[in-house]
Symmetry: C2
Subunit: 229 residues, 2 copies
Amino acid sequence: MKNKEEVLSKLPDLASVLTASERRQVLSVMKVETFKKNEPIYSEGDVPSHLLCLISGKVKIYKDGVGGRAQIVRVLNAVEYFGFRAAFAGEDYVTSAAAFEPSVIACIPITLIQDLVMRNARLGWFFIHRLATALGKSDARTVGLTQKHIRGRLAESILFLKDSYGTEDDGETLSIKPSREDMANLSNMTTSNAIRTLSTFAQENLISLDGRKIRILDEPALQKISRIG
Amino acid sequence: MKNKEEVLSKLPDLASVLTASERRQVLSVMKVETFKKNEPIYSEGDVPSHLLCLISGKVKIYKDGVGGRAQIVRVLNAVEYFGFRAAFAGEDYVTSAAAFEPSVIACIPITLIQDLVMRNARLGWFFIHRLATALGKSDARTVGLTQKHIRGRLAESILFLKDSYGTEDDGETLSIKPSREDMANLSNMTTSNAIRTLSTFAQENLISLDGRKIRILDEPALQKISRIG
DNA sequence: GTACCTTTGTGCTGTAAAACATAAAGGAAG
DNA sequence: CTTCCTTTATGTTTTACAGCACAAAGGTAC
């Protein structure tokens, strides 16, 4: 995985919209880094310097709020680009990123990417599409997190994780194993309430729990709980 | 204001990055529409068909949540583009837009804009910059609205309105006169609590109220309330 | 003017969720 | 193995806020 040509071949869309010479440019300056579980990737206030691409692993993007409580605003699955929003907005990072699981990340200087975007309209469109999709999700999340009650928010988070990371072969067990605190930070609630409400869901046979494994038993019911709030 | 050349001259950045022939294309298909106070501009579920540009007036972008409670996710001031996110993401609208005040809006078919974006990288960059900025604000808003207490959220909204729409000549009176319900929909609270908390702020001499006019008397104090939540 | 409807204002009540308090279980380090 | 620290679990208390109910004020239509 440290082979850069191999990594570049995994970069979807990006490689495909570049010319051969642009691809060579990217390759020559690209760095590949690995991150351990829970290791920080960047932090709020940092100056963005690279376009990042999650080659393998799982990453959470979060914001620290009042009283040190974190809110996870996005989760990333391989293969996905991130870290470019702040640079494109001309801002410092307003969020932090950390590895949910051991992760491999390709880093390309953002200045090079900006140059390429100014010259290659297809590459520009690639980022427009991603930003537009993320903005729609963020707005939807704002409303879901603010207006729904605890059960609705937790149900939403469970379905969100299934949607983002998929399941094991059984089609029911989430392939991510989040801590209770992660669940709380996803769902805008205290850890106590995440634990309590997960237990309640298990008692109601909506899910089953085995340590950090979450198995969805009754998805339609969860969807209903999420929908009505 | 119905003069289209005059309107196009007001479209910042957009006109400046276009070639003369592109400008002619835009002009030939552009429509200018007016909206009355509180008139809907588009609704959740509609298929996006035009890039919109607020020429004059004020607009709110909102989402209807559980129990018919609306959350205002963005407010627009002249001159600002909107309505393109859904089209660029390949989705139907997930928000609704309505005029806060009587407004004039220029409409350009989004298919034309997409064509231009694919050919003109500078135009692409223009939208990237806007989307990236909006996404950062949306994420910040999510955390502010979910984690802060009522007083913090209301203080944040008052400062948000000052930031977005500015003040009268006195530098203190907000130039937008929102209903109490608008304040509630901005701040994620019930109308009763918006009324109550605004009154409390007035009693504490943080603001003064005269009907729908809001005058900021102690901005540092409001900032502190907003910050600590 | 009068009638009617919407918006604003205020008090009261119920409750969802935070805060706090412990304790048990699970992991990591020695 | 034992020790220590983190995570999970559950019960109790407190409180912030939603949900009424109702009254006053302000607009609009006639």
